[in-house]
Amino acid sequence: MKRIAAALIAALLCASAGGGAAPAAVDQALIEGSAMPAKLSAFGLFAGNDPARPVASFAYTLRTPLFSDYAEKHRFVSIPAGKRATVLADGTVDFPVGTVIVKSFGWPDFNEGRPVETRLLIHRASGWVALPYIWDADGKDASLAIAGRRVPVAFKSPDGTAHAIQYGVPNRNQCKECHSRAGTIVPIGPKARNMVLADTVGADTRALYFTNPAALKPVMPRWDDPASGTLQDRARAYLEANCAHCHNPEGSASNSGLFLRWTDPVGVNYGIGKRPTAAGRGSGGMDFAIQPGDPDHSFLIYRLESLDPGIAMPELGRSAVHKEGAALLREWIAAMPKDAH
């Protein structure tokens, strides 16, 4: 994926050199209309429809991202010329109508690193709309897959393990299951506490696209970098990025009473000594989501390490076990005093 990253940086530099405004190639009328074009190219979000050449206002990464079957994700935002986003007090970003958040998924060692899918989150006057596109076999364009699809992919994870999985491209409803707040679609990743704008995005560009660029201060640690935060904070960052989009009082898992946002207190409703609610087989015969000091009797771990749809968490978007993520949470639970609840 290095090749793509290099091209991406080059593209961004070009964009910046042009004054920072997104080139006219983006079809803003289409973005802000009501259509769901069959082909991704219609939006003009990639120069020459080359996934390595995004037409971006800015690219960003996340300090702690959602695990998606070890996929490498490339994210950028397109904000219409003349409009600006605002970081709100709770750290979420209020993007103007006409914004598109674009995320491409691929594996460096699969299909020459070309993306398998590109997901769009489009802010229309009626609200956010989620559209999944799967890249065609010839790699020249991507096709709308409103009902989702399973795509066979093969790759090696960082520890060298070979994986061959039926990767699940979500359908439009599934996009919403995670991106839902009180029943409406909202972005998840781009929050001030987690979002890191690419180094190439200078102060001018930040000021061009944000009313309050100084508020872009990522405070969450990197889950896999011990230098960036304590064990507990890295575990909390991981839970925020991987679970909290559903596990919050306005999310798809509100009824569970398990709330895993960065801002939630680490108590019963964070899983500590919490009995299963509607877990079914997900309890794995255990009494508590988190049994302090005992990861082997914490069904939160059991569910993260399972691939069985009746057990596995998250329920969507995971066809491989995130060994390294589970190891972090195991370490965190093991380090808790046994009488912590």
Binding site: I146, R150, Q174, G257, R281, G282, S283
Partner: protein, 400 residues
């Protein structure tokens, strides 16, 4: 027992009365892309539309979902020759079908062998489940999914004339909802036949709950967004032979339900159990208990309060009490314990002319091992009768 049968004429009237723009989207089980076409129809449907499933079997690998208000998903029947959604090869999603929109009608199809829950609806107000079959076809197995029919966090729920078998938790489970009717349905060979949990205002009537571990449960649990379950009426049901050994995965609350339980009320207030027919429930026909697990939720009320049991017909019960110490108590009482079992916590009024056994454990923190079983009378004047649940007219019209 009155079973609602949707006549063809009624269906045609319903279609004719729909707004002009509403349409029927026909979906076929034939073809390599049948699954994608079905999910696509559920996404592209517009309010007022009917998604009509043809006869046949869909072999699904992923969960289906519906997020459009006022859509009907209707099949050609629940049995042979009907519309069968078979999830035996499911690879993803926590349930077979997920509904997250309001005013939805699900009718006349079957959901089989999901890995997780069968049909879940969340935040789906005024949902109607009618003439459905949700089944794990191999019968009771711990590997079966948890809930068959699973509405949660919804206002106005109607479950009418469904059949659920094999759920490793509850066949019909209504959680954290308000204004609920579960009627004319059959729940068999589940751990819990029907479970009303952390709900306000529910009528459970004219159902058959048989061969489950426990027939009908009315529960309230701590640490959840909606708690304080109350105003539940359980009446005119047949609750018999709930003798299936508990096959729930340990840790879940229903894993603690003793085999042979008829109706079990835990930590609710104002629950009325009346005019039911009980038969062959080896532990008890009616059990009334507190929530006895360790918990520190200051907002939670663990005691059953103002529970009324009256005018039920009691057949044989209490002959195989499947709780710790139960066999010894039964032996001491001549082979069986009385049909009504109370742990001694909270308060209840039992007007049925049958024996009542108290375990003498008024404090829920006292372990059950310290039970002091004693026959008791629980007479008194019941609180004013609860009103019948009334659903919005449009919901009732959907099942006429």
């Amino acid at each position: 027992m009155r079973f609602h049968v949707l006549s063809l004429a009624a269906a045609m009237v319903a279609v004719a009365a729909s707004p002009a723009a509403a349409k029927t989207i026909n979906v076929s089980a034939e073809g390599a892309d049948a699954n994608e076409k079905l999910q696509e129809a559920l996404i592209l449907a517009e309010p007022g539309d009917v998604v009509q499933l043809g006869a046949g079997t869909w072999t699904l690998t992923d969960g289906l979902s519906l997020d459009v208000d006022n859509v009907t998903l209707r099949g050609a029947g629940t049995g042979e020759g009907g519309s069968i959604l078979d999830f035996s090869g499911q690879q993803g999603a926590g349930e077979g079908l997920l509904v997250t929109s309001d005013d939805v009608l699900l009718a006349n199809f079957a959901v089989l062998n999901t890995r997780g829950d069968g049909i879940k609806s969340k935040g789906a107000d005024r949902i109607v489940y009618n003439e459905l079959r949700v089944e794990w076809t191999a019968g009771p197995k711990e590997a079966n999914g948890a809930y068959g029919i699973y509405p949660v966090e919804s206002q106005d729920v109607l479950i009418d004339s469904v059949y659920v078998r094999g759920a490793s938790d509850a066949g019909i489970y209504v959680g954290q909802s308000r204004n609920i009717v579960v009627r004319d349905s059959i729940a068999t060979e589940n751990v819990a036949g029907i479970e009303i949990e952390n709900c306000f205002d529910a009528d459970v009537h004219d159902n058959i709950a048989t061969k489950n571990t426990g027939g009908i449960l009315v529960f309230d649990l701590p640490n959840l967004p909606q708690q304080g379950g109350h105003n539940v009426r359980v009446f005119d049901n047949v609750v018999s032979d709930n003798s299936t050994p508990n096959f729930a995965p340990k840790g879940n609350i229903v894993a603690s339900v003793p085999t042979g339980t008829g109706v079990l009320v835990m930590a609710n207030r104002n629950v009325e159990v009346f005019d039911n027919v009980f038969e062959d429930n080896g532990t008890a026909n009616v059990m009334i208990v507190g929530y006895r697990y360790d918990q520190k939720d200051p907002k939670y009320q663990p005691l059953p309060r103002q529970i009324v049991v009256r005018d039920n017909a009691h057949g044989k019960a209490g002959f195989a009490p499947a709780f710790p110490g139960g066999a010894e108590i039964a032996a001491a009482m001549g082979g069986a314990i009385p049909p009504v079992l109370w742990d001694g916590a909270g308060d209840a009024i039992v007007l049925d002319d049958v024996g009542i056994l108290s375990l003498g454990l008024p404090d829920v923190t006292t372990p059950q091992s310290e039970a002091k079983p004693v026959p008791v009378k629980l007479g008194g004047t019941p609180p004013p009768a609860l009103p019948a649940i009334v659903l919005p007219e449009g919901m009732e019209a959907k099942v006429q």
